[in-house]
Amino acid sequence: MDILGKRKIWYTISLVVIIIGLLFMVFKGLNFGIDFQGGTLLEFKFDNKVTNEEVRNILAELDFAKDAVVQQSEEGGIQGVLIRTKELSPEQIVEIEDALTAEYPSTETLRTDMIWPTIGQELRVKALWALVMASIAIIIYISIRFEFRFAIVAIITLLHDVLITLGLFAILGREINTPFVAALLTIIGYSINDTIVIFDRIRENMKLMQRTPFIELANKAVVDTLPRSINTSITTLITILAIYFFGGASIKTFMLALFIGMFAGTYSSIFIASPLLVTWKNKFAS
């Protein structure tokens, strides 16, 4: 099986997906949730069906909640609504609760989530910093255990997986929230793990097959580790799908991100990482 020889095809597939994703990110934008932008999210449950319109009418009476967006509750099987609006004080949230309870005595607050934009800003900065630090640490570790070029390629592969996940979220218009950030980090952890396993085999082959051209020994490494790559991603993807279908609504976005990212991660460790090593070698050899 010649995987590395056809590397231009794999690069093209990835580039097309990434570019489409980037175009969506630029022109449509990412759907940042309240964790990043600030705002309030309230979820209520009632004993009987209450329409979004009825809730909207109640909110219209309150000055600060006039512009609230009212949607069907995310948790299936529950008669409820989801209210999104700008950041409110606890007093104002209680006012909304009181107004709803006055009309529907069975009102139960499932969850409240209020966050100021400043916190979202901090979260973004912190998460980004942590990622930069982690990347540097990974580069150092891989450079010591392998070679510098393995480290750079590993980081490019990570970037590839993150961009594809972000791009698909832009295309699908799904919300970017804190669990999504955790999902991205999981993807990074998985992707690096996956890539290293193949790199490890290449490193071994470099020792055992010193006369063989790099592209051949690298290709052999990719093909030899293929059963492992496939088995591992199948078992992981099964778990993710199980949680996607059985888990609660709040975890669905998270699982979708994981699914996309893990898929991209498996693809990139086979079709992007090792081919990039070959490309690098060719560029610097000539």
């Binding site: 100021w116 955790a182 790199f199 490890d200 078992t235 992981t236 778990t239």
Partner: protein, 403 residues
């Protein structure tokens, strides 16, 4: 005979770690985060005023008062802690009306008595005690007692404003606007409450005193017990389903060693729960994600080992030799792959907070436990069966006949 003894020792080792994990889990249990068990998390930020900068004293004062308020609400299992320079984090267990509790906790709560022009005549420091009560018509009220200094002051005020209205304000909220009908000394009542609960929450604010500076809730998150329960039930079902399907897949692909891998996975589950319990780690919804990833890595470690053993078998080595070399060669792969993940987890845990941190910590613990499992448990479990037909079978490890 020596081989037999070794085998018994190995079995004892495996039983011992399962047992100790179970005991840890039994005695400590798993701490669930508020998104799973229900509860509230509020971040309050102190706002400096013209009179008062934010310093350590101010923050300690706020923390004390908030702790007292929480206690007066009769809640147990509450944490109030400082974060950074000007923030206080309050975590409450699941209660029926978390938002009302948050409102009481975060109120600045300056009680003031004002005349009809809005001039402040007296403020709440002179209040010695306040409690919810009922007046002669059985309406809920807050009755308060003044200090001796306050009594004198209030006597003078009521004398001056006889027949006029004096408004009683909590912050900028007018609670009641009674007309002074007699000179009042030590005791008074605030009327105008619809329920005993609202009178109670005001009594707490008045009695425990005002915060030195106003605080703003910059983040408030609460999950009702219903939602927490739904999330945890769904997560357990999903997790079990995932584990079972993965187990079946491993058995289907690797045959007898697959069964061993499934057993190892179950042991890994025990170990992980025991470790999380022992370390008193808090499990949140993103934390579960970290666990799933680490389960994936634990399975992966077994797959790497099995594939290596298979390679060695193909090259014609005996089973014993294949297992030895297979493990040896798999070690470096597993270490390099997991160390990079551990680096990411530790850096995230160190530099971030909240959700992301919880995720990183569980991931880190999960990866460490999965490495331990791969190196010690898988090895011992496989060794238990090396001399049996089950592992010598040519189909074991997914080898095809004739390979």
């Amino acid at each position: 005979m020596r081989y037999r003894q070794k085998r018994i020792l190995k079995l004892a080792f495996i039983v011992a770690i399962i047992l100790s994990s179970y005991l840890l889990y039994h005695f400590y249990g798993i701490n669930l985060g508020l998104d799973l068990r229900g509860g509230s998390h509020i971040v309050l930020q102190a706002q400096p005023t013209e009179q008062r900068e934010i310093d350590n004293d101010v923050m300690e004062g706020i923390q004390n008062i908030i702790e007292r308020r929480v206690n007066s609400l009769g809640m147990s299992d509450v944490t109030v802690q400082r974060e950074g320079r000007d923030r206080i984090i309050v975590e409450l267990p699941a209660v029926d009306n978390p938002n009302e509790a948050m409102e009481v906790i975060g109120r600045t709560a300056v009680l003031s008595f004002r005349n009809s022009h809005g001039d402040i005549l007296m403020t709440g420091e002179v209040v010695a005690n306040a409690e919810a009560d009922r007046d002669q018509y059985s309406r809920p009220v807050v009755s308060f007692e003044l200090t001796s200094q306050g009594s004198q002051k209030f006597e003078a005020i009521t004398r001056q404003y006889m027949g006029q209205k004096i408004g009683i304000y909590l912050d900028e909220e007018l609670l009641t606007n009674p007309t002074v009908q007699s000179v009042i000394k030590g005791r008074g009542q605030i009327t105008g409450y619809e329920t005993m609960e609202s009178a109670q929450s005001h009594a707490i604010l008045i009695k425990e005193g005002a915060l030195p500076v106003p605080v703003e809730a910059i983040q408030a998150k609460s999950v009702g017990p219903t939602l927490g329960e739904i999330s945890i039930r769904k997560s357990i079902v999903a997790g079990l389903f995932g584990l079972i399907v993965v187990g079946i897949y491993m058995i289907f692909y690797y045959r007898f060693p697959g069964i061993l891998a499934a057993v190892v996975l179950a042991i890994y589950g025990f170990l992980l729960l025991g470790t999380l319990a022992g370390l008193r780690a808090v499990l949140t919804l993103p934390g579960i994600a970290g666990l799933i990833l680490s389960i994936g890595m634990a399975v992966d470690a077994n797959i790497i080992i099995f594939e290596r053993i298979k390679d060695e078998r193909r090259s014609g080595k005996t089973l014993r030799a294949s297992i030895d070399t297979g493990f040896k060669r798999a070690y470096t792969t597993i270490i390099d792959a997991n160390v990079t993940t551990l680096i990411t987890a530790f850096i995230l845990a160190y530099f971030t907070s909240g959700t992301v941190r919880g995720f990183a910590i569980t991931l880190g613990i999960g990866v460490l436990v999965s490495m331990f499992t791969a190196f010690f448990v898988t090895r011992n479990v496989i060794d238990l069966f090396t001399n049996t037909k089950l592992l010598n079978n040519s189909a074991a490890f997914g080898l095809k006949r004739g390979q």
